[in-house]
């Protein structure tokens, strides 16, 4: 074989399709007469279903079929790992918010949605165990009968490998800690989607599914619907990301299949983003009590741990994730013994599922943090200690894993060198630190089923000399198709352009279990290699006869002997095995080097090869705000021989950034069992500006059992980042954080604790806060539970109204005459339109203000007053030469370019609050009125709620422009039918996102006086991702005279109180002085302490705000110096 493509940079074979928009994903398939499916889901975390009435829904216009559990065979359950505990539609009980109860197929999405809402379900709610602690607590409701006598313990698993009694000996050094890896969701860009079509003629169900593993979908759908395997067929389609979530069946496939059969029409089910977040089975949270014991020389004696894994409401892959996690602790290093006990705990929450890293991600965080702690205790370098203990070539680890090519030590050394460890340690700025972590993963686990060590492939040689590779897996974005084309092209001497790859089609493609456990490269690589080699052999034999002289070689799609040649298509046709001129060669690859681990001991070489990595990072921790910035990041992998370098580094870098997300912000937050941060806007996954370019390297390595020396690499990149970053943060500021993600609240809280700082708010001296304090006191003592139970007794399921009219007036007078009543003004619509679809705005008539010239004007009046029209977009503002720099700075932090291109200044000022309870479907006070609770009081309020002046609603005014403009003493010009009036912006707000605007008011313009414009200004903001709403923001303006004294000071704090909050006492205290940051801090802290009334977990925001103000003050001095 001549390696023309393998090892080379090769463009993905379908790059034109994927970059031109012509690649068809499931939602893009043109399907005639297709019906749209909507699913009715549980609003309760745990309830018995007393009755379901679909009569009204079934009779609604456009509805073709409604299904419930009764439409499946009795007792239908997902197989998964054998627990058989989850029905395709709830039958009798719902066990988490979002569980599927019924589904509707109708002509349009609106009809399906309306019908789903019209289904009447009577529930009897039960006390739901929502956390591990409550699930295991006395008197907890048991979710399932697991037959082990332990309520809510699905499985227990104990492992003892090597000398598990070692450790704790005299002279040993031990480190221990409790680590928490929280819930991460895949958030694939393509939502889960399926098209299902029941063919009456052949009595088969045809599926087009966004999946990584068609065979699992086929098998599960068949058994759930009571069909033969051959009656379900999956077809090929483009798949928009999976990261493990699509490596087993999801839940939409069987629902769509049942509806297609019942309706006798094709159906399409595409989850919306909210459903995607709420119901995609997430990463399992791990709570880990871990310890490491080593001798004085640094040799690890014992790895010890007690691990609780949160299973969620159903068994999907919880047991194998737990098992994989435990094994992961026995793969990186060579301890004397390993002693682990784990339990898998059922909770009435979103079930966990498969996620890149599969349990090893979670344990790596704990292990690799402890390795740093151990190094520190021993006075050793963290890299050296790891190298000393790293697995080596040729060894078999304690858990039976055979290391053919372990290059972890080389990875560690290169990572250390590339990050510049030594020079950073010699000379690094304050708050900067460097950290490292190792990782390991498999190249396909021999697990789940006896045939998981097998993969088949077929090669067709077509009459036109093109090659068709048929392969049963699915390429969700890993580049597997291209890799298989590279192999076939090289083996058969054809151009890669002449290779077609067919995947996913359960009729046309041979056996393969799909893309999971990083098995694609090893298993499919070998299978296609074998098929190609067999084809090569057959063609050679025929060619030897035809060309009749010398040895035969293949190039350019031809067989060559000397200077004679014949196209391989012609050769194939000569074969007596050819059918219609097509020669087909099938091969089955069975990996004999692996063994299924012994179920009792867990021992066994479950993977053909093991890939290693060391990641090193340089971080900067801003101790004034708690924000962590990744300055540099190096990922070094031992991935065997690279077969497609671009794809290889793509997997490494993509995995690393996903791991950085888990380290710094990604966390699914629940309240009363319902997801709080449902949606990209509330889920802090990295955006482009949040990460640097990850520098990715591979060390020289050839794996003797991998195809062409390669190993799997799809998952490992995600494992090291959380520990590497936590270690770097410790290096930077001496704070060890053991629960992910490392958000600013944890940093600042830890710093305050270490320094012994505690704010005292003296509420006893503030009678105006007594009532609020009393209500907050009563909340956990029954008040909240009562209000919540009352509100969720009958959850409102009112459809958002259809928009009936959109007026586009060309003059202000006309607009004024149109607004009012149920007609709302609309600017860019970036807030109003999502709020309408969330049911938060009932108006069905809108008046567009973007075509009115006088609202789009920016100008300076003769007296120097700056006038900015209400419909000026934020983008226009950022490029305006007359806009104050403070305003431009603030605008550039808001949302995204696309949003700023249409979002207007008035719309930004008047936007409703962004409380994640209010926005994400909680029946809260702000949404439904006084009999409803505020979920923020006991829920997660660390980031986006008020620490000052919180009242009935704990939210804040989210507008950054408001914070900046209050610091500029801006006025608003409002207009109604009676004429114009001017109001100061600071009296515009009356509550969180609540203003004095009447329904018939239009914000005409913002006015900034000449005096205010002469002041220097600076804006600072803390958030979790680029474009996020403020956790806190600070705008400061002042005149700084030639002596450096400050006058006319405005200090405005955003997102800390219901309305933009001016620190008036601080302003007064600093007036006329040469302001320094410590001086500002002292005055501000005193004022905060006298005014604040934080919730239980958001007092840290006061520290962050003080820090932001310090930063703004420092910048103000800089700006003044530059004038």
């Amino acid at each position: 074989m001549t390696a023309r493509y393998l090892g080379q940079t090769v463009r993905p074979i379908n790059w034109q399709d994927r970059t031109s928009g012509s690649a068809r994903y499931t939602a893009d398939l043109p399907v005639a007469d297709v019906l749209i499916v909507k699913v009715l889901r549980s609003p309760h975390p745990l309830a018995a279903i007393q009755s379901i009435d679909t009569t009204r829904a079934a009779a609604m216009p456009g509805v073709h079929a409604v299904i419930t559990a009764a439409d499946f065979p009795a007792g239908a359950r997902y197989q998964h790992e054998g627990a058989r505990d989850r029905p395709p539609l709830a039958d009798g009980m719902v066990r988490f918010v979002g569980q599927e109860i019924a589904a509707v197929a109708a002509d349009t999405a609106a009809q399906a949605e309306a019908a789903a809402r019209a289904i009447v379900v009577r529930f009897r709610r039960r006390r739901a165990p929502l956390t591990i602690a409550t699930a295991l607590g006395a008197g907890s409701t048991s979710l399932h009968d697991r037959g082990n006598g332990r309520p809510n313990v699905s499985k227990v698993l104990s492992r003892r490998w090597g000398n598990a009694d070692a450790g704790g000996d005299a002279g040993h050094v031990s480190v221990a800690g409790r680590f928490v890896f929280s819930r991460q969701t895949h958030a694939s860009m393509e939502p889960n989607s399926v098209v299902a079509h029941w063919d009456e003629d052949d009595q088969r169900l045809h599926l087009w599914v966004s999946t990584q593993a068609p065979i699992f979908v086929r098998d599960e759908v068949a058994q759930l619907l009571g069909l033969e395997l051959g009656q379900v067929v999956c077809h090929e389609v483009f798949v928009g990301g999976g990261f493990g979530s699509k490596s087993r069946i999801s839940e939409h496939e069987a629902i769509a299949g049942a509806l297609a059969r019942k309706a006798r029409r094709p159906v399409r089910l595409v989850l919306d983003r909210n459903e995607e977040f709420e119901t995609t089975k997430s990463r399992h949270p791990f709570h880990m009590d871990m310890a490491l014991h080593a001798d004085q020389a640094g040799q690890l004696c014992l790895v010890e741990g007690r691990i609780q894994v949160e299973n969620g409401a159903y068994d999907h892959s919880g047991f194998s994730v737990t098992s994989a996690g435990l094994k992961g602790l026995g793969l990186i290093y060579r301890p004397g013994g390993i002693k682990l006990d784990a339990e898998l705990v059922d909770t009435a929450t979103l079930p966990g599922g498969q996620f890149r890293g599969y349990g090893t991600t979670q344990v790596t965080f704990a292990l690799e943090c402890l390795m740093d702690e151990l190094a520190e205790r021993l006075g050793r370098g963290p890299v050296e200690l790891r190298i000393q203990n790293a697995n080596r070539n040729g060894e078999t680890t304690l858990i039976g894993a055979r290391q053919h090519s372990a290059k972890l030590r080389e990875c560690l050394a290169l990572a250390k060198q590339q990050i510049g460890w030594e020079s950073l340690h010699r000379n690094r700025p304050e708050g900067h630190g460097v950290g490292i972590a190792s990782g390991v993963h498999l190249s396909g686990s021999y697990a789940e089923r006896d045939d998981a060590n097998r993969s088949d492939a077929a090669i067709d040689i077509l009459p036109d000399s093109r090659i068709r590779v048929r392969f049963g897996g699915a390429d969700a974005g890993t580049g597997q198709r291209t890799l298989l084309a590279q192999i076939a092209a090289d083996e058969l001497g054809v151009a890669i352009e002449d290779v077609d790859i067919v995947t996913m089609d359960t009729d046309a493609t041979p056996f393969d279990l799909g893309a999971w456990s990083s098995r694609g490269t090893h298993y499919s690589g070998h299978a296609v290699r074998l098929a190609a080699e067999a084809a090569h052999e057959k063609l050679t034999a025929i060619a030897a006869g035809v060309l009749a002289n010398g040895s035969v070689s293949f190039a350019d799609g031809k067989a060559w002997a000397g200077d004679r040649s014949i196209p391989i298509g012609d050769l194939a046709a000569l074969s007596n095995e050819a059918v219609d001129g097509v020669l087909t060669v099938e091969a089955s690859f069975v990996e004999t080097q692996v063994a299924r681990p012994d179920p009792k001991t867990g021992l066994g070489n479950m993977s053909p090869s093991y890939n290693f990595a060391a990641h090193a990072t340089h971080v900067a921790v801003d101790i004034s705000t708690g924000r962590i910035r990744i300055v540099d990041y190096v990922a070094v992998h031992d991935a065997g021989t690279p077969l497609n370098p671009t794809a290889l580094h793509g997997q490494i870098v993509g995995g690393a950034v996903m791991g950085i997300g888990a380290a710094l912000g990604e966390d699914m937050i629940f309240e009363q069992g319902k997801l709080v941060n449902s949606g990209y806007m509330y889920y802090a996954l990295p955006r482009a500006a949040d990460v640097p370019t990850i520098r990715s390297f591979v060390v020289d390595c050839h794996d003797p059992v991998g195809p062409y020396g390669a190993k799997g690499v799809g998952e490992l990149g995600i494992n090291p980042p959380p520990a590497a970053i936590a270690n770097a943060v410790y290096d930077a500021i001496g704070v060890r954080i053991r629960d992910l993600p490392l958000t600013p609240d944890k940093i600042l809280t830890a710093l305050a604790q270490r320094e012994g700082r505690k704010r005292r708010f003296a509420l006893w001296r503030r009678p105006d806060r007594w009532w609020i304090a009393l209500v907050r006191w009563a909340y956990p003592r029954g008040l909240f539970r009562w209000l919540h139970a009352w509100r969720t007794h009958r959850p409102s399921r009112v459809a958002p109204p259809e928009l009936e009219e959109l007026a586009s007036p060309r003059s202000l007078d006309e607009a004024v005459s149109l607004v009012g009543g149920d007609a709302l003004p609309i600017g860019g619509g970036t807030d109003l339109l999502p709020r309408r679809s969330q049911g938060l705005v009932r108006a069905n008539r809108l008046v567009s203000l973007i075509d009115i010239p006088e609202l789009k004007h920016i100008g300076v009046e003769p007296d120097g007053t700056l006038v900015i029209g209400g419909a000026v977009t934020l983008s226009t503002l950022t490029v305006s030469p007359v806009a104050p720099s403070l305003l431009v700075e603030a605008a550039q932090t808001i949302a995204s370019v696309q949003v700023r291109n249409v979002a207007t200044l008035a719309g930004n000022l008047a936007q409703a609050n962004r409380c994640w309870f209010y926005r994400n479907g909680f029946e809260c006070f702000q949404r439904v009125g006084p009999t409803a609770p505020c979920y923020a009081i006991l829920g997660d309020h660390r980031f986006y709620h008020a620490a000052i002046d919180g009242h009935r609603c704990q939210s804040v005014t989210p507008s950054d422009m408001a914070t900046a403009l209050v610091a500029l003493d801006a006025d608003l010009v409002l207009r109604d039918g009676n004429g114009s009036r001017v109001v100061p912006l600071r009296s515009f707000y009356v509550g969180p996102g609540e203003t004095i605007l009447k329904p018939d008011d239009i914000v005409v313009a913002v006015r900034i006086s000449a005096a205010a414009r002469r002041r220097c200004g600076a804006f600072e903001k803390l958030n979790l991702w680029q474009g996020d709403f403020a956790i806190g923001s600070a705008a400061i303006t002042a005149i700084i005279d030639d002596d450096g004294r400050w006058h006319d000071i405005r200090i405005v704090c955003g997102a800390i109180a219901p309305v933009p909050w001016r620190a008036i006492k601080t302003e007064q205290a600093l007036n006329g002085r040469r302001v320094t940051a410590p001086m500002l801090r002292q005055a501000l802290d005193a004022e905060f302490n006298a005014a604040a009334h934080p919730l239980e977990n958001n007092a840290w925001k006061l520290d962050a705000l003080a820090g932001l103000c310090e930063r703004a003050a420092n910048r103000l001095v800089e700006i003044r110096g530059n004038i």
Partner: protein, 169 residues
């Protein structure tokens, strides 16, 4: 509910579009014109997958009401020629994996590169990352996207080579 026809130019072709006032540009493009290159990933303005150019300005088609569209619309399908170098660079640098966000990335990038990037590569990367932060990619970690666009920006601004002087060593 009133249904009103209006004329919208998409990729240079005028279409008479009929639909309710609440019809989004995204659904019109996908469902009525069959232009499925523009993707719906969140439907509420949070991810950038549905980015199109309206009058040359990148906007989110999921949050755009058809009834308010006045300028010509350009989708990924209308940028095939202009963006060929971007598409190739994405393929060469690993700028996509699953490809679902790619249309939005490329459409937005087309507008960014029309405006140009700073000559200094570090500064160009900073600007690019800031501007592209409204386009979420869950696969690539952004490195391939950024590398591809920096490469294209550099090539597009490179002075035309003189074939004669190049031929002479």
């Amino acid at each position: 509910m009133t249904s009103r026809a209006r004329r919208i130019v998409v990729n240079g072709t005028a279409h008479d579009v009929d639909g309710p006032p609440g019809l989004s540009l995204l659904h019109m493009l996908r469902d009525q014109l069959g232009l499925t290159g523009t993707k719906e990933a969140c439907g509420r303005g949070e991810c950038g997958a549905c980015t199109v150019l309206i009058g040359g300005v990148p906007q989110l088609s999921c949050l755009t009401l058809c009834a308010r569209v006045q300028q010509p619309v350009t989708t990924i399908e209308g940028l095939t020629d202009e963006c060929l170098d971007i598409c190739q660079a994405f393929a060469d640098h690993g700028g996509f994996q699953c490809g679902f966000c790619t249309s939005g990335q490329i459409v937005h990038a087309a507008a960014i590169l029309r405006d140009g990037l700073p000559a200094d590569r570090t500064e160009a990367e900073r600007v690019l990352r800031h501007k592209l932060s409204g386009n979420i990619c869950r696969c690539t970690g952004y490195a391939g996207i950024i590398a591809a666009l920096l490469d294209v920006a550099a090539k597009r601004t490179a002075p035309e080579r003189d074939p004669v002087s190049e031929a002479i060593p």
